[in-house]
Amino acid sequence: MFPPRHGLIPMFWTITLLLLALAGGLLAVYAPTEATMGEVQKIFYLHLPVALNMFLACSVVFVGSVGYAWQRRPAWDDLAQAGAQVAVLLCSVTLITGMIWGRSAWGHWWTWSPRLTFSLMLWLLYVVYLMIRPSIESPQRRALVSAVYGMVAFVDVPLVYLSTKLLPDIHPSGVDLDPAMWVTLIAWSIPITMLTAGLIHARFALNGAVRGAATTEPPVIPTDHRPRMPEAHA
């Protein structure tokens, strides 16, 4: 990973925030207002890139899990955990934005449509990944059980998608967009993807630091330098 002294990370975050501001500007002044749904439709520019990046984060969990099962190096577990933390965040945003959109389009906050059910099941899969970890005391066992769960969960994702196809669908299946809408969508996709990568990197570094702090022995104070108790006065 990039060492912070090179200044690449602050530069990366500055560019991400600038691009996000630019995307926000485009949304406010350039993107056309959709005819039937009005302003609420604009939530779509956040919803779709976040939903796509959610799969990127799930893939990171899988890569980290396979890496740990293969090499047993704790850094892989840190990466898988970082991926799961970001996946849960992105899945939550997808669910919330989807519900706001659904309330406006269908009149209900929630319907058991395939894609909504899929997002909810995916959210549950990765929330459980994070919740189960503190229950296992041994760090090696925790990493191994999490790695197996992470691998099975990733295999589970297409199965979840297939199973939800049996439900009746009212979600829009294709995207038919105006060129200005496409430009805004791409303008949002780039900073959201950068944000996902940045968050995974930040959490990866933090998880490594927390693991390092937990495994480091406390400093041994030499006998001669121990603070002495003040002597009691008669």
Binding site: T117, I132, V152, D156, L159, L166
Partner: protein, 225 residues
């Protein structure tokens, strides 16, 4: 000793232990009956019942009872370090997985054999329309569920995982099997939803194959004395 013979011997060993005291089966059957009765009361005792939805309610009883079976069959191995002896035996780890899976499935079938008539009775559920299809869907659903359950029961036994957390590990992973099975049940017993029935059965078979293969491969990583 080949893998199949070793698996059958291990499953027979677990079932022999069970037959001596009926400790697991007694517990899961009472739990299953309790779940069905509580849900029957919650849904109202005066009406015509949930109709085809009864199949989905029965699934809830199978799931919770099954999770308890997975925990118990693996907990037996923790007594007197039996797991260490099992792992030292000159048999494949895959055979241990298959043996545990067979024992768990047998216990789940026994549970279903008792719970299903109770559900039929309490919910006025007419199973006579498609009893064979009901049994087929239940069996296929249970195979996928038990594969993942047996895998993570090994993790729970080796990691001293707190009680009740096995259900948390198994339920989200097996949601596709549960959703497909209950949708198939609704399609079988509710004529208005019959169109999704044919494709669903092949999807359920595919899920079973994937879950069995994934659990067989991962079991070796998780099992430890």
């Amino acid at each position: 000793m080949n893998t199949l013979r070793a698996s059958l011997l291990l499953a027979a060993k677990d079932l022999r232990i069970e037959r001596r005291g009926y400790q697991t089966l007694g517990l899961v059957i009472v739990l299953g009956v309790l779940i069905v009765v509580v849900l029957a009361m919650a849904l109202g005792t005066g009406g015509a019942g949930p109709g085809p939805g009864a199949a989905a309610i029965l699934w809830v009883a199978y799931l919770f009872g099954g999770t308890l079976c997975f925990e118990k069959t693996m907990a037996v191995e923790r007594q007197d370090d039996a797991l260490a002896g099992l792992l030292l035996a000159p048999i494949e780890r895959g055979a241990v997985f298959a043996g545990k899976l067979l024992a768990n499935l047998t216990l789940m079938f026994c549970l279903a054999a008792v719970i299903t008539p109770v559900g039929i009775l309490l919910f006025h559920f007419d199973l006579s329309a498609a009893p064979v299809r009901y049994a087929l869907i239940t069996t296929l659903g249970m195979i996928g569920f038990a594969a993942i359950g047996t895998l993570f029961a090994a993790a729970a036994a080796s990691s001293r995982l707190q009680g009740g957390l096995l259900a948390m590990l198994v339920f989200p992973l097996t949601l596709p099997v549960v959703l497909t099975s209950t949708q198939l049940m609704l399609a079988t017993f509710d004529p208005a939803r019959a169109q999704s029935g044919a494709a669903g059965l092949s999807i359920l078979v595919a899920f079973d194959v994937i879950f069995l293969a994934a659990s067989w491969l991962a079991f070796d990583l998780l099992i430890e004395p």
